[in-house]
Amino acid sequence: MQVTLQTLIGGLSLGAVYALVAMGFSLVYRTMGLVNFAHGNVVTLGAYVASTFYMSTRLPFALAMIVAIVVTGLVGSVIEFVLRPLENKDFDLMLIGTIGFGIVLDALAIIIWGATGRAVPSPVRAAPIDLFGLRIRTYDLVVLAIAAAAMVLLMLFLQRTKRGAAMQAVAMDHEAATAVGIHVGRSNSIAFVIGAGLAALAGGLVGPLLYVSPTMGGALGIKGFAGAILGGFGSIPGAIVGGLAIGVLDAFAAGHFQGYSELVTFLVFTVIIMVRPTGIFGERTVNRA
């Protein structure tokens, strides 16, 4: 029981990071129907920028994070701008285009920061909290809190602001949105920038939990994507639930299967997708003939 709970808590904090990644995926997908395969590499970029500013210029962690969000946001808008000619035309090609961007970002990260990774000290120095014999790292709580805050802010933005409502409209029907005067390109661009910002947030937060290396984004990206699909692709609450679920699944798989955890995680994921392709909160779209 004790061990189970401890694993659960470890899984939740990493799951919160997956949830942030998943939210980025979902936001871009619901707005423009695109899966951004470069998202994982944007996470890497965010992690490197945040840790570089935090460690070498001794900026406060929060400030370093903001710098990272700005930088990745710019990268996101560049990706969207370049792929704009394909928008609403050929999704498979756009998907491959983002893979191309991923390859480039991956290589750029190695050129700038080298192929070896770095360890990032935790910004929260408080001792772990002891709760009924469970050790909870304070930083884990910080990660969970930030993820929760990000979700609430994103939901508020989408539902309460004019810009957010416009993005919802684009998500539902981009042609009708154009007809009522919404700039679809700008809306897509904002989705991409926010998505990239969420990736940077995830990358910056995960730095002190894992080891920052050029390959970290790949694994985070795929698991975040898995979380997004598990929750129901395009649904923001779904992304949170799915991300947390993948984190917990991952933690238990790591506990029981050690080195084979990735194998187990992806096999379980495959089975879930086959049983329920629409995820937990997803809706089946109707084929129109």
Binding site: F37, D92, L93, I99, G100, I110, F225, L263, P277, R288
Partner: protein
């Protein structure tokens, strides 16, 4: 033809002489390039031809190589026995990885296959049988009497022969019925199902093909390098492979080969700067998808275009030979108490209608009254919430579209669903083709039979196109044709299935007066050739003049059913369909 053979002979001779002019390092690079080209052809078949996003090709490659390595070093099997078992293992893996394709497509399939590829590398890195992160070395040299395959020069010839056979087989598949069905499925899985293409089986076939190509490459790799380690089968290499296919042009196998050669050479040029090479090919991938989606393979066509300026004309339709209707005792189509619910919306509510053999039935009703939903239920696209559909006396409720198509149902679509990357002739050929996926054994074992069958199909297609007056457009892509001609192509495609029942969904939409008149003529001829026709149409003139009986739907219910004259004067129809104000001005054509 002669010129092609000559070019082919020159290329073959050049490839045969190639090893004489290069040093031992270069021949190694060439050998590896050929292996990548083989992988790229396999990936091209799955992604470019069949439209299945397959990010596990590198895992198929790995399964092939690792099976050979494990069997030869751990159990002492000979190389060739191990190779055969390795191909079997990859084919099984391919079918396993392909199963999700039955449920999900596009990016979902991408992530699932990518996840399974990661699962594979995760397994080989950890398992002791695969040597962990160090991998397995000292794989024995493949033995071949009289030839020392330990020499990379001689191994080149083995690779070249295997590659030539594999490429030729791939090209054969693409150009014959199997590949045509795959391309149709790629362009529009829904329409492909509606013309009788067995979509699920075909998706599995695509993965099986890709995996066997991957496995063959893996076997050759094991024989060439005689050492396997996890990093060869990493995601980075998967993306490199993907870049080869995209840059080369995924819809052309020769393009895939060109992409593989180009990127391998580029990688070799920049061998001291691997990360810069990565930046380079990543950027090229982005540029290609935005500016040249057909890749290297599409470049010649860009320069060659606008050669033929001769005018193409639609020829008149030649009526079908008349045939008696075999009207059995029961109606051809019986729809009983069908209901269809979408979330809160009741699209169809207790719809019952019978259509007798040889009838032309009209279905009319305001927009959103459930006409197309009814078609979709009848043709198997939707499962009805309640009720039953019987076709030719057999219960077919919920049967898949391709089975219904094979049983003799054909349809057209409201918004035109032609296979857009297939020529008009190929569109018709897909529908003409009655071969099943289970007869693909003929491809490896009796290709002559496949070729003969294809030749017969082509003759039949030309005859049908001539009948519909479409001969001039046989080689055109549907998207380039005027709307009216596209509509006619879709009817020709449906008739190519030799259906017993033809369902036309708003065939007159967007046609001008003359075209509507021709359409009426075509539909009448179709009926007198023994085919029953159901017609959804808003053009009342056409409905009134063509149909013996008309069924009127409103809000998912049948509100009237009878002869055109009866229906047109029924008060509930005038109210629901034409509106109150129309009742005074309506003229009924007689």
């Amino acid at each position: 033809m002669k010129r092609r053979l000559a070019i082919l002979a020159v290329i073959a001779a050049a490839l045969w002489m190639l090893p004489y002019g290069v040093d031992s390092y270069a021949i190694h690079i060439i050998d590896v390039t050929l292996i990548f080209a083989l992988l790229a052809v396999g990936l091209g078949l799955a992604m470019g031809i069949a439209g299945q996003v397959n990010l596990a090709q590198v895992a198929f490659f790995g399964v092939g190589a690792y099976t050979v390595a494990i069997l030869t070093t751990r159990t002492g099997l000979g190389f060739w026995t191990a190779a055969l078992l390795a191909l079997l293992a990859t084919a099984v893996t391919g079918l396993f990885v392909g199963t999700p394709a039955l449920r999900v497509q596009s990016h979902y399939l991408g992530i699932v296959t990518l996840g399974l590829a990661l699962a594979f590398t995760n397994w080989v890195t950890n398992a002791s049988v695969s040597g962990g992160a160090e991998g397995i070395n000292a794989i024995p040299v493949p033995e071949l009497p009289g030839v020392d395959l330990g020499s990379e020069y001689l191994f080149y010839y083995l690779e070249l022969i295997v590659f030539a056979i594999a490429l030729a087989f791939g090209l054969f598949v693409v150009r014959t019925p199997l590949g045509r069905r795959m391309r149709a499925m790629r362009d529009d899985p829904l329409a492909a199902g509606a013309v009788g293409v067995e979509v699920p089986m075909l998706r599995m076939t695509a993965f099986a093909l890709a995996s066997v190509y991957g496995g063959t490459a893996g076997v050759l790799y094991a024989g060439l390098v005689r050492y396997v380690a996890p990093e060869t089968f990493s995601i980075a290499n998967m993306f490199l492979l993907l870049a080869m296919v995209i840059i080369g042009g995924r819809q052309s196998l020769l393009g895939c080969v060109a992409g593989a050669v180009t990127l391998s050479l580029l990688r070799e040029l920049l061998v001291d700067y691997p990360t810069y090479a990565q930046v380079a090919y990543g950027s090229v991938v982005v540029l290609v998808v935005v500016f040249a989606p057909t890749g290297l393979a599409g470049l010649p066509a860009r320069f060659r275009r606008r050669a033929s300026a001769q005018r193409h004309e639609l020829q008149p339709f030649t009526p079908f030979a008349e045939a008696p209707v075999d009207s059995g005792a029961s109606p051809l189509l019986e729809v009983a108490c069908i209901g269809k619910q979408f979330k809160g919306l009741r699209a169809l509510d207790d719809v019952t209608l019978d259509v007798g053999a040889g009838e032309i039935r009209g279905i009319v009703g305001p927009n959103g009254s459930g006409k197309t939903t009814l078609f979709n239920v009848v043709t198997g696209l939707y499962k009805p919430t309640t009720g039953e559909v019987r076709f030719a006396g057999r219960r077919v409720t919920g049967a898949s579209p391709y089975r219904l198509a094979q049983a003799g149902m054909a349809r057209t679509f409201q918004n035109l669903r032609l296979f857009r990357a297939l020529t008009v002739r190929d569109n018709v050929l897909v529908a003409l083709d009655r071969t099943r996926t289970r007869s693909i054994w003929r491809y490896p074992l009796w290709p002559v039979g496949v070729w003969r069958h294809d030749r017969d199909l082509r003759a039949a297609a030309d005859e049908l196109l001539a009948r519909f007056g479409l001969t001039d457009f046989a080689g055109a892509l549907p998207g380039a044709l005027p709307y009216g001609i596209q509509r006619r192509v879709e009817i020709a495609r449906a008739m190519a299935q030799h259906p017993r029942l033809l369902l036309l969904d708003e065939p007159a939409a967007g046609l001008n007066g003359e075209e509507v008149r021709q359409l009426g003529e075509i539909v009448r001829s179709i009926r007198s050739s023994g085919v029953t026709v159901i017609l959804i149409e808003h053009n009342m003139g056409l409905v009134m003049s063509l149909c013996e009986r008309v069924t009127v739907l409103a809000s998912g219910r049948i509100i009237a059913d009878g002869t055109p004259a009866e229906v047109a004067t029924a008060p509930q129809v005038i109210e629901a369909y034409l509106g109150d104000s129309m009742s005074d001005t309506l003229e009924v054509p007689r």
